[in-house]
Point group: C2
Chain length 425, copies 2
Amino acid sequence: MVRNIQRYSQVRNPGKGHLIINPIMVGGIIPKGVQRRLLDDEWTRTGYAVCFDCLEGRSSLIRKPNIRQFLEDVAEFLGGDMAEHSFGCRAAQFAVMKAVADSLKDRSKSYGKIVVADPLCHYTTNIATEMLGFKLVMPPPGHPTSYKVNAQGFRDKVEEIRRESGKLPALIVVTHVDPYYGNLNPVDEVGKIAQEYGIPYLVNAAYTAGVMPVDMKAMKTDFLTVSAHKSMASMGPLGFLVVNSEWSERTFAASKSVKSMGGQALTTKVPSLFGCSVGSTPLISTMLSFPYVVERVGRWAEELEKTRWFIRELEKLGGIKQYGDRPHRHHLVHFETPIFWEISQHHKRRGFFLAEDMEKRGITGVQRGLSKHLKLSVYGLSWSQVERVRDTFYEIAEEYISKHHLNYNIPIKSEVPEKGAAEKS
Amino acid sequence: MVRNIQRYSQVRNPGKGHLIINPIMVGGIIPKGVQRRLLDDEWTRTGYAVCFDCLEGRSSLIRKPNIRQFLEDVAEFLGGDMAEHSFGCRAAQFAVMKAVADSLKDRSKSYGKIVVADPLCHYTTNIATEMLGFKLVMPPPGHPTSYKVNAQGFRDKVEEIRRESGKLPALIVVTHVDPYYGNLNPVDEVGKIAQEYGIPYLVNAAYTAGVMPVDMKAMKTDFLTVSAHKSMASMGPLGFLVVNSEWSERTFAASKSVKSMGGQALTTKVPSLFGCSVGSTPLISTMLSFPYVVERVGRWAEELEKTRWFIRELEKLGGIKQYGDRPHRHHLVHFETPIFWEISQHHKRRGFFLAEDMEKRGITGVQRGLSKHLKLSVYGLSWSQVERVRDTFYEIAEEYISKHHLNYNIPIKSEVPEKGAAEKS
C-alpha cells in the first residue's frame, strides 16, 4: 500500500504568487480570466474536456466547440494552409520527421536520410531525428560572439552533403529563435535556399508563434511547429503543426490499419497525431486565450522596447553583458553575469543564492544554481514590473557588495519610458 | 486577419452541468475540490505548471512538487517497478513498441517484427504498431456471443507464427478491458503463456488502472500502459507507462544525441518520452486526485454492484440486451437497444433523438446518432443518480411508446439496494 497518500492532496505550488521571468514560461502564462472560465465553465471537469460532441473520432474535427474552425484560424494567423494540434511542439516535430521519412520511399532517390538543422536548435529537434533514424548535421555557428547562424552556412552544408553522398538532405530545420541566446535566425533566407534546392523546410517557432509576428509565406516554409504552452498563453502539453498545402495530405495521412467494429477503415485517425491528439483542457485554454494572443502579437514592438530597456539597465551592473543579437530581437535574453558569479564565491549557498534571493523577493525564473550566466525574460510584464525586476537585481547586488566589500558600484537607475502611457494598456 | 476573433473568449461547454455516462469520460472526472485547488493554487497559471523547480531537465525527476516520489507510488500502486508519465496511454504504447523494436537489433534473432494483440484492442494499439512498422496479428475472438478472447487463442497464434516464420512474435498485447464490450480479458493466463515462451508482454490498462484493482505481478506483464484522463480522475492528455525492472533501462534509455551547450551528453532526456513528457497541469491534477483514486479502487465491488443493477433494470425494457461478459465485470457496458432503434424509425431526428432527448434531461454521453446499440457507464454516480439514468431511459421510452402506439411495456422499477447506506459514502 502506498504510504502517506493524503500528502498528495496537499501538494503546493512553489511558484504561487511570484512574478515569472523564466523564458520558457512567460509566453505560456494564461490570463486570469481564462483560468477562471476553465473552472467555471467546467472545462477542468473531465480528462476528455472537448469530446462531448465528437462525431468523427478526432478532436481536431469537432464542431462544438468549433475546434475545426479554430485550427483553420490558427493556420491563417501563422500564414499556413492547415493546422493540427499536437502533444506539444516536440510531437509536432516528430510528425514532420515521420512524414518526411515516409516520403523518402516514394520520392526520387536524390534525398538521403539526413536532416540539416541550426547548431542551436532545441533538444527536441535532436530527439525527433534520433527517433526516426535521421542523421543530423549542422552548419557551424556563423558568428563567433553573437553565436548566430547564417544562411550561407546552410547552403554550404547542403553542397557538402551533395558532394559527399550525391544526395540532398531530406529536410532543413531552422529554429526561428534559438532557446539559448534568443537570436532571431535568418529563416526567410534559408527558406529561399531550401526552395532553390527543392528541400522540405521546417521552421520551429516554439519561442515565437504567439508572441511575435510569424508568417510561413514569408519564410517559404513547408512546416511550422508551435508550442502552445510556451508561446500561446496555453496550458500544457499542447502544440500545433501547421503545414502548407503541398505537405498536408502526406503529413496527416490516415491510418491504414485502424478499423471500426464493423471492419470499415476509420479514415479520421492519423498515426502522426497518435490517432487523435486528445486536446482536452489545454486545447480549450488556447482557444479562450486566442483573442489575447492575437492582440499581444500586435504589441510586439512595445514588448521589445521593454526587453531592450531591461538589457540596458542590467548591463550597467557589474560587468553584466548580454549575449547574441544586438539590438536584441526577442524576449529571451542570455546574460553573462560576472558580479553574481563573484558573489557566489563568497556565499555558503554558492550559485544557488541568486535564485533563492530572487524568490525571497517574489520573483521566480532564475535557474537554480546558476550565477555566472542567466537566461531571463520580462515578456508580458508591465513597465512597473520590469522596473521591479531590475530593482531586485540591483538590490541583491548591493547587499553583497556592501557585505563583502566588493569592487562594484550600483548604477544610477533610469526611468522607464512613457510609464504612464504604457501602464494604461 | 482572423475574423470574429472575440468569439473564442465565449466558447461554451456543451456538457456543462450534465450527468456524464460516456464510458471514456467517467473514470476521468476530476473531483470538484481538485479542480478548485488547480485554480486557487495557480496550477492553471502557466503551460509549464510543474517546472518551477526543475533541476535535471525532465519533469519526472522533479522533487518540488515531488513528482519523482509520485511516480514511484504509481508504480507501486499498480505492482510495477518503474513509472513514467506520458502524453496519454497512446504515447505509452508507442514507447513500448519503440523499446521492443529497438531491442530486436540486440537480441537473438528468434523474434520477428510481429505483434500479437487481442482482436478488440483499442485503435491506438494499431496506430503504435503501424508507426513502428510491426505486423499486427490477432487471434480470433474466443466466443461467438460474448466476443471474449481466450488465452488459448494467443498460444495458438504464437505457435502458428513460429511454424510459419521460425520466429516468435516480438510482443504480446492484451487490452485489460476492451473498449467495445467492456469484457475483462484473461490477462493472467496470457501472462503465463508469454512468460513460458519468453515473449515481452504488454497489458493496456487504459480502462482499468485507477478504477479497479490492477496488479502487474499477478499479470506477469513487463509493461502496463495507463490512461490518466480515462481512468485516473485526471485532466488530459496524460498517461503512464509502468514497466518491470527487466525492461526499465531499455525502455527509458537516454538520448544519444542531445548535448548541453557545453557539449556534454544530457543523460536525462529520453527519446521515447519525447525528451521530457512535460506533465504540466494534467500531471498535478492526477497527483491531487491520487488519494481519491486509491480510495475508489477499494470500492470497486460497490461500483460493480451499481453497474449490474443498472444492467438488470435496462434489460427489462423493450428487448434491451447487454453484450459480453455476464455477469459483467467492468463499468463499460454495451447494450443492444431494439426499442430505441424502433423509435428512431418514427422520429424525424432519426438515431439522433436519443442523445438529444437525454441531453434535454441533463444527461450526456449517449453517442450522437446511435440508437440500435449504446455504450454506457454509470461509474462513479451515486445510487440516486444511477436511478435517475434508469428513470430517464424509461421516461423517453414511455413517451414514444405512447405517441406511436408501440408494442412495448414500461417495466416495474426496482428499488436501488441499501440506498440509504450507499448514499452516505
